[in-house]
Amino acid sequence: MIQLLLHKKLHTAKGMMPLDIDLAITPGEFVTLYGASGAGKTSTLRMISGLLTPDNGKLVVNDVVWLDTSKKTNLKPQQRKLGFVFQDYALFPNMSVLKNLEYALEKHQDNSIITELIDMMELGELQHQKPSTLSGGQQQRVALARALVQQPEILLLDEPLSALDTKMRIKLQDYILKVHQKYKLTTILVSHNIGEIIKLSDRVCLLEQGKIIKSGIPSTIFATHQMSAKFQFTGEVLSIQKEEVVFIVTVLIGTNVVKVIAQESEIANLTTGDTVIVASKAFNPVIQKVL
């Protein structure tokens, strides 16, 4: 169980913004922080990892107090057991892939985990290369592997896939999901990509101006304003689920997520990631003000 209660006045480009985060996360949960840039997502991750100190607050992780400003407890980043994947990966340029992973080992830690991670992330052929020679997706895999070397219980991902193209994104989402399940991690992701959030997370928290304004299951959070009408849209298939006798296809159109009921014959040659046209024959389009 992670309990977060963090307050900090942040100096942003738009002036002072108070950040108020009150969040409880259950072990094994995959939570995503979503919001416009400058909403305080990255600052939240930095406060959890100890790289940024809140003005006041409390952070309890599995009954261990990491931070309690009222008691002046504040564990250093070094003392907090978590994995952190930075937005720009932060791989050490002076070390090869293998050395980057080995550097992460704790004192006296058995290095069999390195072999395991190299296999899982398919880094075998790259292990003696320097980070600068790797592609974005490869660097991302190394960063993810490095964050897992110490086998943390918590994994923080700061927009890890934002610099990658769609194909690489989908592949890496699978890696993230794989390690999340395999190592029974509690994962906190910062992401802008709705498709990614729906695919990966159990819960999404919408951050606006430093506060969580909404939180819940991603597909419901993002699908609330969907109305069908006599329109035609193109979008990307996020998931295909079987429900009784029909299939529900979740499609990302622009930044909105739409659920479409489909017959088995219609989904026969559809897979996640395909671009599709969604057309509706509704006769009475509804118009409603958004927010």
Binding site: S49, G50, L51, K76, P77, Q78, Q79, R80, L82, G83, F84, F86, D88, A90, F92, P93, N94, Y103, A104, E106, R146, V149, Q150
Partner: protein, 224 residues
């Protein structure tokens, strides 16, 4: 045949000064690069002073400070057994002051331009500040370190005013090449002065050229 002693002495002085400066310069540059202390501008100014101050001014005040007739000079000579005036040890200390900005400034600039994520990533992986400095920060600012080392070395070779003030002109002890050149010119031995000058010119040119070649990536293998 020229007397090689002043040249040997010059390089010995430059070498010792540079090594000591490296150990002094790294922590100082680290503090200047990362500290948010209010006295930081003052320290920064003090470090940079030798860049603009006439070397004779530095030499003059060091001469006063090291003089056995005052408290500090007396303490040094009694407790450490060091006579800092008109001695090689005194020259080393004076050179450290004199060449300090040439070591500190490149390293500080190197540290400041290194993305802070490297440091943070290392901390999150549980590594101490010292280990992070040794394994992550320093290896990634090699060009800055090299620049600092070479500039300090070359600058110490070129020292004149400070040496003259604090070291005098004692053969084998404080008579470095730059002083020897001055000496020979005074004695109208232009050809000896020319030999010394040419040697210094060629050596400093070569050293600086090597730095620009390495840092400019012309000799890639040496840099990686």
């Amino acid at each position: 045949m020229i007397d090689w002693e002043p040249l040997i002495l010059t390089f010995k002085l430059a070498l010792i000064t540079t090594v000591l400066l490296l150990f002094l310069g790294i922590p100082l540059a680290y503090w200047l690069a990362y500290s948010k202390s209010k006295i930081k501008p003052v320290i920064e100014t003090l470090v940079s002073m030798p860049l603009v101050l006439p070397p004779t001014v530095i030499g003059f005040y060091l001469l006063l400070a090291f003089s056995p007739s005052n408290t500090f000079g007396n303490w040094v000579s009694e407790w450490l057994g060091l006579h800092l005036i008109f001695s090689f040890e005194g020259l080393v200390i004076a050179s450290i002051f004199y060449s300090l900005p040439f070591m500190v400034q490149p390293i500080q600039a190197g540290l400041s331009s290194l993305p802070k994520q490297y440091k943070e990533a290392s901390y999150v992986l549980g590594k101490s500040k010292f280990k992070t400095l040794l394994k992550i920060i320093l290896p990634n600012i090699k060009p800055a370190l090299l620049t600092g080392i070479v500039l300090s070395f070359a600058h110490t070779i070129g020292e004149f005013g400070v040496v003259l003030m604090i070291g005098g002109n004692i053969p084998g002890k404080t008579k470095v090449a730059s002083i020897a050149i001055y000496d020979e010119v005074e004695a109208l031995n232009y050809s000896t002065a020319n030999t010394y000058s040419l040697i210094l010119l060629i050596i400093t040119f070569s050293i600086l050229l090597i730095v620009y070649l390495i840092n400019g990536g012309y000799l890639k293998k040496m840099n990686r």
